[in-house]
Symmetry: none
Subunit: 301 residues, 2 copies
DNA sequence: GCTGACCTGAAACAGATAGTTCAGAACGCT
DNA sequence: AGCGTTCTGAACTATCTGTTTCAGGTCAGC
């Protein structure tokens, strides 16, 4: 049993590095409420938060310094400096290794489900993007950034959330955008007003929404362009759509996943932000002038 | 672009990261013999050697502490702690996500933006899950699956979509769920009715919603349990929350990303489906009897 | 071989740091 | 309710930190 330098709570005497991160996660249960806050703060800003002083970490966690000390003691370290050394050690080894953290052992219920969920979601996402046609993607971006067009956005039972999400961002970046949340008069009016300069964005994922499908058909018949975001099984709207972007829906549960679709939506927003450039930025600033709570541009320093 | 925090000897105002390592290498010539020993020791054990004490680094280099101090001064830092901070900063970037590398290079508009978006989103997602405490996750699942509890779900400007998403699924799996979509009488009534058997689920991501925060505080003061889903910068609600689940919000655009948060939500739903087991399945079947369009269980063959 | 400039480290110093003590608070358990 | 246990932070302290001071040492140049 050599190397008794940095393996306190790692436990099983097998893992050579015994990541501090995992040690913390495993010890979660044994901790008190405030100590758990420390654990969360440590993981949230890892590893930087563990390389500052006790006082700093305590402040970040919203607890007092003694709690941090007790936290380190409970993990099995002789003191805060020793925990720091362990982190430094780890940083020295890894300095970039991304997914070394996923172990193999599984027992407790929740963990298995979570692990499975993570992998399912990630592979769905990966696959979705790898199957995405970048040419279609660009076409959609061009359509969305064309301010001479009137945009309507609509979605189905769950995908209405994405329709909402997209239109909210569109509002921030350009004018002439409308979300068609409910069936009814609003949609009828939209059909009546539709023409060649109208752009309808449809989110339709299983199970496909009949009302949305009919609405798309009607809009199309009035000359509107139609962009469809759907799953890989293709909504019936695909038949009449001008551009189709698909995403996978494989989920860790019996329900479908919207994560890849949302990722696609965010990618569209990113590309659109890039496309509208200064024009959109000006609009954002104008909007912010009226809404002190929205300062979306200051995120990236 | 000042930010005179960590860019002393980077010098030429060109290098984007101004790596400490590179700063040292460039300054080699200007150093004295002993100082150069320090430089070599620092680079040899980088970054760990720079995260210890002055005395340690001096010993590793075979020189006296003052020499280390003079070394840091010669590099342009105000003191050893400042150099340390610069290194920590660097480590923080490099360790987690490979976000740092996508600085500037772009040619073909749509495609590169898309590529960048994909990578950003995926790394955010990966990082979020790696930082997730599975213990907290399990606690939330347990709370959500406890049918003796009355559940209230609320969200902020954008995260209301996730609140909606979660509550929609909760409705399918169990009873006594209510989405608090708008401020107003509905929320007041919820506060009045709240008690120890109430569970409030709060989605609060930057920019944090004051109304939601106040609502959470009020609910908590009435004895309700509070589960918070937030970003890694922690909503103020974290102070009073019983459990906190964080996700990253780094996005390919100036806006924040909700993809990791949605993935987390879906993981919760998956685990919850598992937890409620047959009871939830029966409920689903009962619901389907009244809604021929919802057949969520047939997805996985 | 003397003089000046420049390194270099021992010793001393001021300030910050981790860790301890203790009293009050919160909690769970009959 | 009342008890004992556990948790938590304010105040304190001993220690270690980075830094400055200063004297000894090295070397080049006429």
């Amino acid at each position: 049993m050599p190397d008794a330098d940095t393996t306190p709570a790692g436990g099983d005497a097998d893992g050579p590095p015994a990541s501090v991160r995992r040690a913390v996660q495993q010890s979660m249960e044994r901790l008190s409420n405030s100590e758990r806050k420390v654990a969360r703060a440590l993981l949230a800003g890892y590893p930087g938060s563990g390389l500052t002083t006790v006082a700093d970490l305590a402040a970040a966690a919203g607890v007092s310094p003694p709690t941090v000390i007790r936290f380190t003691a409970r993990l099995g370290y002789d003191g805060y400096p020793q925990l720091q050394r362990a982190i430094v050690h780890e940083v020295n080894e890894g300095m970039g290794s991304p997914l070394a953290q996923y172990g193999d052992t599984r027992r407790s219920e929740g963990e298995e489900v979570l692990d499975h969920a993570v992998r399912t979601i990630q592979s769905s996402l990966e696959r979705s993007f790898s199957e995405l046609s970048s040419w279609d993607f660009k076409r959609v971006v061009r359509l969305l950034s064309d301010e001479s067009r009137e945009i309507r956005v609509v979605g189905g039972r769950f995908s209405r959330l994405l329709a909402d999400y997209l239109s909210s961002h569109l509002h921030l970046l350009r004018g002439r955008v409308q979300l068609m949340s409910e069936p009814g008069l609003e949609r009828l009016a939209a059909i009546a007003d539709a023409g060649p300069s109208t752009l309808l964005v449809v989110f339709d994922y299983r199970r496909y929404d009949e009302a949305v499908g009919q609405f798309a058909v009607d809009m199309k018949s009035r000359g509107s362009s139609v962009v469809l975001l759907t799953d890989n099984w293709l909504s019936p709207v695909a038949k009449i759509a001008d551009v189709v972007l698909t995403s996978r829906v494989e989920a860790p549960s019996p329900f479908d996943s919207l994560v890849p679709a949302m990722a696609l939506t965010e990618a569209l927003i990113a590309a659109l932000t890039d496309a509208v450039g200064d024009r959109g930025r000006e609009r954002l600033e104008r909007l912010e002038a009226f809404d002190p709570q929205a300062r979306h541009l200051e995120d990236q320093a």
